[in-house]
Homo-oligomer: 459 residues x 2
Amino acid sequence: MTDLTPILKPKSVVIIGASRTPGKVGHIILQNYLNEGYDGKIYLVNKNAEEILGIKSYKRVTDIKGGIDLAVIAIPAEGVPMVLEDCGKTKVKSAIVVSGGFAEVGNVDLQNQIVEIAKRYKIAMIGPNCLGVVDPRSRVNTLFLPSYKLSKPQVGGVSFVAQSGAVGSTVLDLIAGEGFGLSKFISYGNAEDLDEVDILEYLMNDPETKVIIMYIEGIKRGKEFIKLARKITKVKPVVVLKAGRTEAGSNAAHSHTAALAGSYEANEAVFQQFGFTIANDLSELLYYAKIFESEGAPKGNRIAIVTNGGGAGVLTTDAIASSRFIKLGEFSASTNSALQKTMPTLVNIRNPLDLAGDADDKRYGDALAALSSDPQIDMIIVIILFQTPGADSRLASEVVGLKENTDKPMIAISIGAEYTEMHKIMMERSGLPVYDSPRAAALALEALFRYYSYRNHKG
Amino acid sequence: MTDLTPILKPKSVVIIGASRTPGKVGHIILQNYLNEGYDGKIYLVNKNAEEILGIKSYKRVTDIKGGIDLAVIAIPAEGVPMVLEDCGKTKVKSAIVVSGGFAEVGNVDLQNQIVEIAKRYKIAMIGPNCLGVVDPRSRVNTLFLPSYKLSKPQVGGVSFVAQSGAVGSTVLDLIAGEGFGLSKFISYGNAEDLDEVDILEYLMNDPETKVIIMYIEGIKRGKEFIKLARKITKVKPVVVLKAGRTEAGSNAAHSHTAALAGSYEANEAVFQQFGFTIANDLSELLYYAKIFESEGAPKGNRIAIVTNGGGAGVLTTDAIASSRFIKLGEFSASTNSALQKTMPTLVNIRNPLDLAGDADDKRYGDALAALSSDPQIDMIIVIILFQTPGADSRLASEVVGLKENTDKPMIAISIGAEYTEMHKIMMERSGLPVYDSPRAAALALEALFRYYSYRNHKG
């Protein structure tokens, strides 16, 4: 197994192509290291500078004394072989080649040349033609994107592996708007040395990673991938968005990353067989990341719905009843009698449980307390429409508190603009995953149930 | 046809149950009228008050001299028959009964009684048990929800008809976060006098309404509905979200609004046959509202994709190729040669057209100019990932400008957090619909094509 630690947790890094010019890739990367508060040693290489942003700059890597874990290479393609040789001679452990201009534009020879150098010197290399990595714990960030364009994710348990740089940064930006956090982001581009198999293998054993989500256009080493696929989903959930599902999409993918997308059916069969969660678009990638980061195994597939909007309860019932894998549960006798005692008469005791538009923290609290201990209910959906009179921050706190005290998976649905968004973030950061549609919530619980069924029964 | 003008554009309104107590329904409604800047005459009825918020209050409606277009009734259910009698005697033209406590809680007799009164006096009545109406042009807003909980939609061409109050206010809140605007919102609750057939008939002839979106749980007058369905989609697009599609959902709907949801298949067959656009969840309701408010008939189903993110281009290709109704077009020879002249060599001239991560306003401008005049392209999707270096406000303006000068439907996909959101709003308010996923964009264009095919071929 290739150790990615020097790449993700480097004690020292050299930025080759560091630049004095704001806006240039080599400047943005250096700024990232400084802004994030990276506390390892930073070296710079730039032929024409003595120092950049107060840090001494060397002419060549070979001029640097002291071991280097990671080289970030951001110079024109033609120059990469030489500096990579220098890295090899200086015993640099790993490299991220962000530079483009290799196989993706037809320069196959140049690409082969750098792969040969990396292998000869045993440099673990990511790229070329990639965005590199983000690890908010080690404060490593090689993304050469203006920071104002990209919101910053929190620290968390989701690791995201992306073949495409642009999709990668887009999803990273989306993650920032969610209540869950990032463990690692790895954009691996042309994947000429380290590829998805190496990266997944590392993340499988990474204690900071609770769930892996990936965007891929093609798989290079099919056999090795299948071997790994067999093991990895026994350890943690893996969500995959495979682009190029259709013939037209597959052709487009080939033009994009020269990836042989392969038959989607064949790919999908492998993913299904080995318990991967398949996302059909970027939104689903996030739905699944969110549920797996937060929730553990449900005992079964029976769901209770609690709502302060009757219509939203009906739509959520439809979404669950449309699934082949999950269903609405029937409340146990003790739940029914507990609810009969605590609910006002206008509340019809049935699943979905419509608490009515004036439901407040007390009514939600009573209902959720009963359902949390119901042996016939395995998972709970709490719909809170914050437009209604009784829904406020106190209700949100009450639900979050109950969530902390139940071992059943519990998620919320809240739909709306500013006032809702504020409460959504508040609930998510307190550990309650919130979805913005019945469809999204049903997809998430279905995925949770299916993954843990696979893991428990095929273990 | 029932004229809803007195309800939506009343020259005078009486609020029965107007209250001095902040937070009470009768207070919130009065405040809405004042805050929105309603410029008709406002009368108040409250037995125990002389004046409320500076407006004189009457003991009974019969004490008021001067014609009244609309009575908004917000008093306990038992009192409604008497005040409705009073309204009849005073020749009030229409009424919105927001009060609950009728058929939905078993008080069928009381409900029958008020319907009889409304019919006897020819009062056009909406409700009972409803949120009422919003018309941003006439500044009428009977929603009794705290205004800080609900963002305010812009004025526009989308009319929204909702059986459920909570779903209604939730969608209204969502609309506020979008770049399109509202014509009318009508929440009609128990629908005992005016129902969906009356409301749709009015909106069909309403010049301020460009597209109708509706949330329904059941249809009461099947025959009349079908008769209207035959006509209405020849005039304007109608999008329908029918809750209770599954057996479980249908049972839940019955418990919610006492609606007989009917067989979903039967309903869906009617919707399909008469060219309704069927939404499967609340998000889709918005996708379709947005496209129909902004775009007209496409000439065909051939789509061009322009992108600054290769992966997003592949995902969008997949989404379109998965549709039975729309497809990627092939660029004409003249487009190919125009692009060969203007694009840098790294841009592969094919559909999807990947302009690369450094694409700026100039490159997008050249590409879109060529595609706008391509006779083999009917609709255009512009993907702008704002995380990339070349994407900024200038690019957004350039694309909006090109959109104004093409007669082909054109939409954008932009995915991301704050920086993206800002540009999304900017583009939408300038007339370019923006979607947040390839799936949403493909669904929207498919719906646009299908609707206009129906309308043109069955005309």
